[in-house]
């Protein structure tokens, strides 16, 4: 695929990626290029491989074949072993923010410490400096007043906003969202979507796996529909959502648009 762009190196490149769980092939040769500052939404039913693809970008799933690059640097390195690869992947991951469906905030740390732990321990930032930065990011997600609270005291929407602030505090080159609003009560979805819209305005490169069709249509530069481990259809959101080429895409969209209000 190509998204029209003037920048040189794409931010994320996924080339012919294959992945098997046992005998089940969940990714059957996926290609995707995400230019800097662009937002790509990946949709599809559960089991389509969309989450596996996103997790592969961060090497939380180890792909069997193909290449994944971040800003020109290869993420998967089958040639590297042991500690050398560990160092390599830790470094790569510091440049990728990941947001999970179930938030995965660290319950033993205050909200502020959740945000500052990685900058302090991985970038060697002084506590004072890190806390200033942390408060700034908490402020950006509208939770400056929750800095000293523990995650157990937060609502789902607040937890996810802190999780986004935690990822942003490492000043990543790309943000990966793995169904960030799927575990939320409907009335809490919008506050998280708002934060993601803000990021879009600031031209953060984003790869979003989502079930929210209206949101995907609104915010994305490119949309992709996966089924059975292959990309069925992709295109600009206008074309993709209003006039898709494939019957399977139409079926999927019909089901999901009608189920939403």
């Amino acid at each position: 695929m190509t998204i029209e762009t003037k920048t040189d190196t794409p931010m994320v490149e996924i080339v012919n990626v294959h992945k098997k769980f046992g005998d089940l092939e969940v990714l059957k040769g996926i290609n995707l290029t995400v230019p800097k500052g662009k937002i790509v939404s990946i949709i599809g039913s559960s089991g389509s491989g969309k989450s596996t693809l996103l997790r592969s970008v961060n090497h939380l799933e180890v792909i069997d074949d193909g290449v994944i690059r971040l800003d020109g640097v290869q993420v998967n390195r089958p040639d590297m072993k042991g500690l050398a690869f560990e160092r390599h992947i830790n470094h790569i991951r510091q440049n990728m923010g990941m947001v999970f469906q179930h938030f995965n905030l660290f319950p033993h740390l205050s909200t502020l410490d959740n945000v500052t732990l990685a900058p302090r321990k991985l970038k060697g930032m002084a506590r004072k400096e890190a806390e200033e930065l942390g408060r700034e990011y908490l402020n950006r997600v509208g939770l400056a007043d929750k800095a000293d609270v523990y995650p157990s005291r937060l609502s789902g929407g607040q937890k996810q906003r802190v999780a986004i602030a935690r990822a942003l505090a490492m000043q990543p080159k790309v943000m990966l969202f793995d169904e960030a609003t799927s575990a939320l009560d409907p009335e809490l979805v919008e506050e998280v979507n708002l934060v993601m819209r803000d990021l879009a305005k600031e031209h953060m490169t984003m790869l979003i796996v989502t079930h929210e069709m209206a949101f995907a249509r609104d915010v994305s530069d490119w949309a992709m529909f996966m089924e059975g481990g292959v990309v069925v259809e992709e295109g600009t959101p206008d074309k993709f959502f209003s006039n898709p080429d494939h019957e399977r895409t139409r079926n999927f969209l019909r089901k999901h648009l009608s189920s939403q209000h």
Partner: protein, 217 residues
């Protein structure tokens, strides 16, 4: 029968030194068994079967045989080869015994921390060991405190078993006084109260820690 506590008062210095030895043993064994148990648990959970199975076997062995027997093995068994002071044998024996019990609990709580916590930490760029140190182990520790606290209370009482190998802790210290004063009940009552007070301190500390970490689960 009338109770006469005057011999207890006469032998107060002996008893106090016994209290001191008991407290010291309890403190050292508490630190040793908790930190050691944590280390053993981490190694057992995060290594392959070649390492973890022998560890599990040792834990099981320590938990299924009597403490007294373990102490005899250490004291008289090892005594065949090297001379170790009874106090050292006692601290090591009690320490390993409760290290096994604590490790057993830590293994369960480490496993209970969700895979998502590990992934979230790794996705930020933390390596495996740092993830264990900053994320997994602290959470497991907080979850372990009620059961570890129970173990330590049992441990404080079990320091009395060390009297069997001649460690001059509280029970041992009182035995001489009893044998010359012929007032066992008075001594036993006072000693029981001392153990009760020591464990009251333990329970207080445990409750305080649990209150402090109530939000952090």
């Amino acid at each position: 029968m009338e109770l006469d506590f005057s011999p207890v008062i006469a032998y107060a210095p002996t008893l106090l030194s016994g209290v001191g030895v008991t407290s010291l043993i309890a403190l050292v064994v508490a630190l040793f068994s908790v930190l050691g148990g944590l280390l053993v648990a981490v190694i057992s959970v995060y290594t392959n079967k070649v390492v973890s199975w022998p560890i599990r076997f040792l834990i099981w062995l320590f938990m299924t045989t009597p403490l007294l027997l373990q102490l005899y093995f250490l004291y008289f068994g090892l005594g065949e080869w090297i001379l170790i002071p009874a106090l050292m044998v006692g601290v090591l024996g009690l320490g390993f015994h409760y290290m096994a019990y604590n490790a057993d609990i830590f293994i369960a709580t480490i496993r209970s921390v969700s895979a998502g916590q590990y992934e979230a930490s790794r996705s930020l760029g933390f390596g495996h060991l740092r993830t264990l140190f900053y994320i997994i182990v602290p959470q497991a520790f907080i979850r372990s405190v009620p059961q570890i606290g129970n173990n330590l209370i049992l441990m404080v009482k079990d320091t009395s078993v060390l009297s069997a190998i001649g460690v001059a802790e509280l029970v041992y210290a009182s035995q001489y006084a009893i044998s010359v004063s012929f007032r066992p009940f008075e001594f036993f009552i006072v000693i029981a109260i001392v153990y009760y007070l020591l464990n009251l301190i333990m329970e207080f500390g445990q409750a305080r820690f649990e209150r402090m970490t109530a939000d952090r689960r």
